[in-house]
């Protein structure tokens, strides 16, 4: 009888150990799955080529006495509140053009698309490493849906500020 009771105690102890190990395993698994994935931005050759192509794109905005403006030049015109010869605002043309360029690329943000978020911004350096938006950024999608982020920056030597950059951020959901 005594021997039987001891065996029962041993079994209870064993079951307890199994339960404790299982609970620990489930907790570790839960933490590793719920931990946000590494969303640290990476660079990409494809995004870099897209970004360069955007900046060189010739828009339909002509500032009097100049040629039709490229996106790079239009950024400066927008900041200086110039007016295109057809009466449109350079900022408006810039926004429409950027949206259309994105729409015709693989970075289009749609319900079924792989790209979940895109942001194009022009930034001026205000202090060491601190940047402010020079013009309102163009945003598509929801940043919260991101699990992998790509980023590209191009220096803009257009006399906007000491250091101004053109930045394209794209993110995907795996």
């Amino acid at each position: 009888m005594n021997f039987r009771k001891k065996a029962q105690e041993e079994m209870v102890g064993f079951v307890l150990i199994v339960i404790i190990v299982s609970v620990i395993a489930i907790i570790i698994l839960g933490i590793s799955l719920s931990r946000p994935r590494n969303t640290e931005a990476q660079t990409s050759a494809e995004l870099d080529s897209f970004s360069s192509a955007i900046l060189s794109y010739t828009t339909n905005c002509e500032i009097p006495e100049t040629n039709p403006r490229q996106v790079r030049e239009l950024i400066k015109d927008c900041k200086q509140n110039d007016v295109c010869s057809n009466g449109q605002s350079p900022c408006q043309v810039l926004e429409t053009t950027l949206k259309e360029l994105v729409k015709h690329s693989s970075y289009v943000v749609e319900k079924e698309s792989y790209t979940r978020y895109l942001k194009i911004s022009v930034l001026n350096e205000v202090a060491n490493g601190t940047y402010n938006d020079a013009i309102p950024p163009v945003k598509e999608g929801n940043e919260q849906e991101c699990s992998r982020k790509l980023i590209d920056t191009q220096p803009l030597n257009i006399g906007l500020a000491e250091n101004s950059i053109f930045k394209v951020e794209v993110c995907y959901k795996d």
Partner: protein
Amino acid sequence: MDKTGQLKIQQMVFMIIAVALFVILAVLFFFSIKTANLYQASIESERDKSIGLVIKLASSPEFSYAGITNGVDSDKLMALKKQPEYRDYWGVNGIVVKKLYPEYPNIECNTGNYPNCTEIILFKKEGDIAQSASSYISLCRKDNTGGRAYDKCELALMIIQTRENEF
């Protein structure tokens, strides 16, 4: 007493096996996740490498447009289209440039419809779509407005069909 000792040893062996199995499963789980990330990284590296090849071709003097980063001269492309002897010069199976924006009629470019067309096919190997790489470019040409010449650049995609084991 001897029997109790044996039972204890059996129990310990069983426990050790269970713990070892658990550790093996955990290690396998960890490595499967690591390997998946490695696979994704290798795909991205391969993609960047193929894009590098397109960029290298786009920046060659036969294609490049002076003064525009990543710019390809569409007039040069149209001139090269008529030169079949250049086909082997590039070391690829095909070079196609497709305009993305602004939109034009979806037709192949020839001397009759250029520049109001979408696709400039320098040359391509029919049916070979397995090995291709593409990259965004600025497709530029000289245009004029009010008697003034200017650089007109559009968004385009340069697609190259690579030869086997090119990457």
